[in-house]
């Protein structure tokens, strides 16, 4: 795919619910070992929060940072695997709540944990073709983990949104390159009418997460970029180990991965995960610094982006809460309150 020119992130915004459960509390419940927990703690959405409400809040910050009227938004795409309705779009509720004009393109996307970055790709295409001036790409999830399953330690809640438009002076960042690598790889799935997903345990590693991210990053290198061109690397974060492991395979030092890691304190926010990581990097990056971003969605695929921080980053960063503001806003719940908040107690 060709290098892009003139596509920029004008604003970004995130939302993380305030409840947390420690992984050690989940392991206490199920008699697991505390020695190798995949995260320290994870976010838990409350009864009044879902993918719609988190998408609305993240999107409102993305618009505030962009400093544009919501009326200029021409597309709202929401990627998630926990849309509240099976049929009825999340995007229209989000658009209405943030005051976007009804002359709008909108759809809900599904591609496991890369549904949010798929939204970015679609909005970028619409902006590049001149069909819209600005668009919102949102990834948000209230991830489901079956009680007692390995996923329960990490399946978390959060949202992230990017306002994407043509480049102008003082943007948050420019998107220099984007591509995607997909294949039919059945590592994780959820059938219709099922409440919880199934996964293929260890199969989710080598042939799934690692193969797809390594392959998508290779497309960036084939384009002429060198790993030295990047100051930061953000990968999808299903647990704390995987992003560092894929970085090691690629020869990227851990210090370039650490700034974008949110999973250890938030858990796996699925469609929001890599976008949340990029937002955390944008919270600290300096103009000119480059970010390598690679999402991963089971089933499977990886979207890859080359993002370069722009001159407007510091000014726009200050217009909305930072990722760390949400990480530090927390209240711990025990396993029973967690069950109640996630509506897992059924009479």
């Amino acid at each position: 795919m060709p290098r892009l020119s003139g596509i920029a992130i004008h604003g970004y915004g995130v939302y993380i619910p305030m409840m947390r459960i420690k992984a050690s509390e989940i392991s206490r419940m199920w008699g697991g070992s505390d020695s190798e927990l995949p995260v320290i703690e994870k976010s838990v959405n409350n009864l009044d929060e879902d993918t719609v409400t988190m998408a609305i809040e993240a999107a409102s910050y993305a618009i505030a940072r962009a400093g544009i009227s919501p009326q200029k938004i021409g597309a709202v795409y929401v990627g998630s695997e926990s849309h509240p309705y099976a049929v009825k779009p999340t995007g229209t509720i989000v658009a209405e709540a943030i005051g976007v004009n009804s002359r709008l393109l909108s759809a809900d996307l599904e591609f496991a944990c890369k549904a949010g970055t798929e939204a970015m790709q679609l909005v970028m295409g619409l902006v590049a073709s001149g069909i819209i001036e600005f668009g919102l790409a949102i990834g948000a999830d209230t991830a489901q983990g079956r009680p007692g399953d390995a996923l329960e330690y990490t399946a978390a809640a959060g949202g992230a949104a990017f306002t994407i438009g043509r480049t102008s002076d003082s943007v948050v960042a420019e998107i220099e390159f984007a591509s995607s690598y997909v294949s039919d790889t059945p590592d994780f799935w959820r059938r219709s009418y099922e409440r919880y997903p199934m996964h293929a345990s260890r199969f989710t590693g080598a042939p799934a997460y690692f193969h797809h991210i390594v392959s998508s990053v290779k497309m960036v290198l084939d384009e002429g970029y060198s790993l030295n061109d990047f100051d930061y690397a953000v990968f999808h974060q299903p647990n704390t180990k995987f992003p560092f492991a894929v970085a090691k395979m690629l020869g990227i030092p851990p210090k370039k991965v650490e700034p974008g890691v949110v999973c250890n304190l938030v858990g796996n926010t699925y469609a929001a995960s890599s976008m949340l990581g990029v937002a955390k990097v944008l919270d600290q990056a300096k103009p000119g610094e480059r970010i390598l971003m690679a999402s991963y969605g089971s089933g499977a695929g990886s979207d890859v982006f080359v993002i370069r921080a722009g001159d407007g980053i510091s000014e726009k960063r200050a217009k909305a809460p930072l990722v760390t503001d949400f990480i530090e806003r927390k209240r711990y719940v025990d396993y029973s309150l967690y069950l109640r908040a996630r509506n897992k107690i059924r009479g």
Binding site: D48, D50, V52, I56, I93, P321, R329
Partner: protein, 129 residues
């Protein structure tokens, strides 16, 4: 039907009587209080102060799973008052005149198969670095 009041519920768009100051949460051409036809659309601010509050322990139908929950009266800078759900905060932490900000939350749902109702609530503002 909640959907007909979506602009009010999602964004606090109100229809204000320019004669007596009453506001309506639905579009109208005549003021319900003074019958004036001088009505203007207005967006209420996103921040307000808490006036008073209470914990609901015996909830009405549709809100059972959320009890106990807090409802309060918030006041905007211009003196407009509104009844609102208060979220992300324990009852013990609330104090009259504390600042709150508007968010959109899931209010209730019509059973397992009916519509989900979204609308405004207020919560303590996110502390910024």
């Amino acid at each position: 039907m909640a959907w007909r009041h979506k602009r009010f519920r999602y964004r606090l768009v109100v229809w204000r009587c320019l004669n007596c100051g009453a506001f309506h949460h639905y579009e109208t051409s005549i003021c319900r209080r003074c019958r004036s036809n001088r009505i203007a659309e207005e967006l209420l601010p996103s921040r307000a102060k808490l006036v008073t509050f209470t914990a609901v322990k015996n909830p009405p139908a549709g809100f059972e799973s959320q009890a106990p929950y807090v409802v309060g009266i918030v006041e905007f800078e211009d003196g407009t008052r509104l009844l609102a759900g208060i979220t992300d905060c324990d009852y013990e932490e609330l104090k009259p005149s504390m600042e709150l900000e508007r968010v959109v939350r899931k209010l209730t749902q019509d059973g397992e198969s009916g519509l989900i109702i979204y609308g405004y609530k207020f919560r303590p503002p996110i502390k910024k670095h």
